[in-house]
C-alpha cells in the first residue's frame, strides 16, 4: 500500500511538472467550453423565440428542459474529447520508464508489479477526475440560467458515466504504453483501439443476430447512453469495471513477463 502510494505521488507530481498536462487541460476546456457556448446560445434563442410566440399568440409558454438541450450534449461532447485526450495522458506511464531505464529501478526494487500498476492507474484517474471537475463551471452556469430548475439526477449520473468511461480507457491506454518504449506509438495504438471500441456499435448492425448483440455489448458507447439520461444501470457499471480490470490485469501480466521474454 505504501509502495503504491509512493508511485502514485511520484506520478501525480510528474504530471504537474510537465507542460503537456496544462496544454491538454487548456485545449480541453476551450473545446468543451466552445461547444457548451454553442448549445447554450441555441437553447437561449429557442426559449426566447418560444416566449415571443407565446406572448404574440397568447398561448402557453412551452417548457424547454436545459438538461436535455444543453447538459446532455455537453456530456456527449466531453466524453468524445476524453477519448482523444486519454491516450495522451497514458502514453508516458510505462513507455517513458522503459525508455529512460527507470523501469529497471522499479523492477529490481522490493515493490510488486501490481503496486506499480495501481499507483500509476490511480494517478492518471486522478488527473482525469481533475479535468472532468473543471467542467463543473459549465454546470454552475446552467444552474444559474435555469433559475435552479436544473435536474441534478442526470448531471450526477452523467459525471459517473464519464468517470467510469475514463477508468476503462485509461486502463486500455496503460496496456499499450506497457507494450512499447515509444510514447507516440503507445498513444496512436491506444487511440485506435479506444475509437474502435467506441464505434463498434455501428458495425453491429451489419452482423447477423445473435452476434450483433455480443458486438454491441463490447462497445464503450452503448453503455454510456443510459447514464446521460439519468439512469444508473448496474450492468453498465459492471461492464466498465470489468473492462478496467481486464486491461489492468493484461498490463500487469505483460510487464511481469518482460523479465523472461527478453
Amino acid at each position: 500500500m505504501r509502495n503504491a502510494l509512493a508511485v502514485y505521488v511520484r506520478e501525480i507530481k510528474s504530471y504537474f511538472v510537465s507542460p503537456i498536462l496544462y496544454i491538454i487541460a487548456t485545449v480541453f476546456m476551450l473545446v468543451v467550453g466552445n461547444s457548451f457556448k454553442d448549445y447554450f446560445i441555441r437553447f437561449a434563442m429557442m426559449t426566447m423565440q418560444a416566449l415571443r410566440q407565446a406572448t404574440n399568440s397568447g398561448g402557453e409558454v412551452p417548457l424547454f428542459n436545459i438538461n436535455s438541450y444543453v447538459a446532455t450534449n455537453m456530456f456527449a461532447f466531453m466524453n468524445y474529447m476524453f477519448l482523444l485526450i486519454v491516450p495522451l495522458l497514458t502514453m508516458r506511464l510505462y513507455a517513458e520508464e522503459k525508455k529512460t531505464g527507470t523501469m529497471e529501478l522499479l523492477m529490481t526494487s522490493p515493490i510488486t508489479t501490481t503496486q506499480v500498476l495501481i499507483g500509476k492507474f490511480f494517478s492518471c484517474l486522478t488527473i482525469y477526475f481533475f479535468m472532468m471537475s473543471l467542467t463543473i463551471a459549465f454546470v454552475v452556469i446552467m444552474m444559474i440560467q435555469s433559475n435552479g430548475k436544473l435536474d441534478w439526477g442526470p448531471i450526477f449520473s452523467s459525471y459517473l458515466g464519464t468517470f467510469l468511461l475514463g477508468s476503462a480507457i485509461i486502463s486500455i491506454g496503460m496496456f499499450f504504453s506497457s507494450l512499447t518504449e515509444n510514447q507516440i506509438i503507445a498513444a496512436a495504438v491506444s487511440l485506435s483501439i479506444i475509437m474502435g471500441l467506441w464505434l463498434l456499435i455501428h458495425s453491429a448492425r451489419y452482423i447477423t443476430p445473435p452476434y450483433n448483440d455480443l458486438i454491441s455489448y463490447f462497445s464503450l458507447s452503448d453503455h454510456l447512453d443510459s447514464f446521460t439520461y439519468g439512469f444508473i444501470g448496474i450492468n453498465h457499471i459492471v461492464y466498465f469495471i470489468s473492462m478496467t480490470v481486464f486491461w489492468l490485469v493484461l498490463t500487469g501480466i505483460n510487464v511481469e513477463s518482460t523479465r523472461w521474454r527478453q
Binding site: R2, N3, A6, V7, R10, K13, S14, V17, S18, T100, G101, T102, M103, E104, L105, L106, M107, T108, S109, P110, I111, T112, R259, W260, Q262
Partner: protein, 309 residues
C-alpha cells in the same frame, strides 16, 4: 552470499551466458571483467531479478532470485548501466522515492538519504533537477540510489564510468569501504580499477567464465618471463649482440627512436636479475644509460591472455 549455479541465458536464440557458475562470499568485493558483449550486464540483471534466467539458479543470502524475488530485492542495491533517474525530479525527491520503494521506513528516511548524499558528494546538487546534472553527477545519484537502503549486496554495473579522476578515486574508496560489511560485485573495463578495489576477479568472455581468482594469483599464473625496458643514448653497433649474449636474456628487440636514442625491449627469464649485467654492458660500451626498468605484467596482459584464447 551470492551463489550462481549453471546460469544460462538466451536472448531469443542468441546465447548471452553459457553455464556460468561462481560464488561471492560475504563481505567480498568482486570484480567482473570482460570485453564488450561478454555478458557482464546480463549476469547482473539476473542476480538483481530484473531478468529471469533461461536455466540455472542464483541464490542471494540463501534465497532464490526466482522463488523469493521480493526478499532478494530487499537485500540488493543495483546500479544499472545507465543510471535510472527520473529526470523531472530533484535529487532530494528522487532519493526519497527510491528509499520509500526500497522499504526504508519513515523515521529513517531522512537519515538514509542524508547519509548517501554525503557519501556520494551530492549536497551541492541536493535541490537540483536530475535533468540539470552532468553525466558524472547522474552516475553519483545512481550510486546513491543503490546504497540508500543500506543493502547487504551491492551490484554495480560500471560504476565509475563518466566520472572525473578525482571522483573515480573517491568512489573507489567508497566501494572499497563497503567491502567487509557488505558484499559488492562491480563490472568494469578499467583494469587498474579491479587491481585497486577488488579482492577477487572473475573474467568472462563470450558468456563463459574464463578465469576466476585473486588478482595476485592470476598474475602468477602467466608464463614466467620478465620484460625489461632499456633506453640509451649513443651510437653502438655492438650493444645488441652483447645484450643477447648475457646469461638469462631470451630475446632483445631494438628500436631506434630518435637521433641517438635507442630503446630495447628485453625478455628475460625471471630466475636471475639481469639488470646489473645490462647496466654494466651499457657503461662498458661508453653509452649513456637513460632508463632501465622492469615492466612487470599488468592485469591488461592477463586479460588479453585469457580472453584471446
Amino acid at each position: 552470499m551470492i551463489e550462481v549455479d549453471n546460469l544460462t541465458k538466451y536472448y531469443g536464440t542468441k546465447i548471452a551466458l553459457d553455464k556460468v557458475s561462481f560464488t561471492v562470499r560475504k563481505g567480498e568485493v568482486l570484480g567482473f571483467l570482460g570485453p564488450n558483449g561478454a555478458g557482464k550486464s546480463t549476469a547482473m540483471k539476473i542476480i538483481t531479478c530484473y531478468l529471469s534466467p533461461t536455466e540455472g539458479s542464483v541464490k542471494v543470502d540463501g534465497l532464490d532470485v526466482f522463488d523469493d524475488s521480493l526478499e532478494v530485492r530487499k537485500r540488493i542495491g543495483y546500479l544499472p548501466e545507465t543510471p535510472p533517474l527520473y529526470l523531472d525530479m530533484t535529487v532530494k525527491n528522487y532519493l526519497e522515492f527510491a528509499a520509500k520503494i526500497k522499504g526504508v521506513d519513515k523515521k529513517n528516511l531522512q537519515e538514509s538519504v542524508d547519509t548517501v548524499v554525503d557519501k556520494c558528494g551530492l549536497s551541492q546538487y541536493y535541490r537540483s533537477q536530475c535533468r540539470a546534472l552532468s553525466k558524472g553527477f547522474r552516475q553519483r545519484v545512481g550510486i546513491a540510489q543503490a546504497m540508500v537502503h543500506n543493502p547487504l549486496v551491492l551490484i554495480l554495473d560500471e560504476p565509475t564510468i563518466g566520472l572525473d579522476p578525482i571522483q573515480i578515486v573517491e568512489i573507489r574508496h567508497l566501494i572499497k569501504s563497503f567491502g567487509g560489511e557488505h558484499t559488492v560485485v562491480l563490472s568494469t573495463h578499467i583494469l587498474p580499477e579491479v587491481d585497486m578495489t577488488c579482492e577477487r576477479v572473475i573474467i568472462i568472455n563470450d558468456g563463459t567464465v574464463v578465469a576466476e581468482d585473486t588478482t595476485s594469483n592470476l598474475r602468477s599464473r602467466l608464463p614466467q618471463t620478465e620484460q625489461i625496458y632499456l633506453e640509451i643514448r649513443g651510437n653502438s653497433s655492438q650493444l645488441l649482440s652483447k645484450l643477447e649474449a648475457i646469461q638469462g636474456i631470451n630475446s632483445v628487440n631494438e628500436d631506434k627512436c630518435s637521433d641517438n636514442i635507442i630503446i630495447y625491449e628485453i625478455k628475460a627469464d625471471n630466475k636471475t636479475d639481469v639488470r646489473p649485467e645490462i647496466a654494466k654492458t651499457v657503461i662498458g660500451e661508453n653509452l649513456e644509460l637513460l632508463q632501465l626498468k622492469d615492466v612487470s605484467l599488468t592485469l591488461e596482459d592477463i586479460f588479453i591472455n585469457v580472453t584471446m584464447k
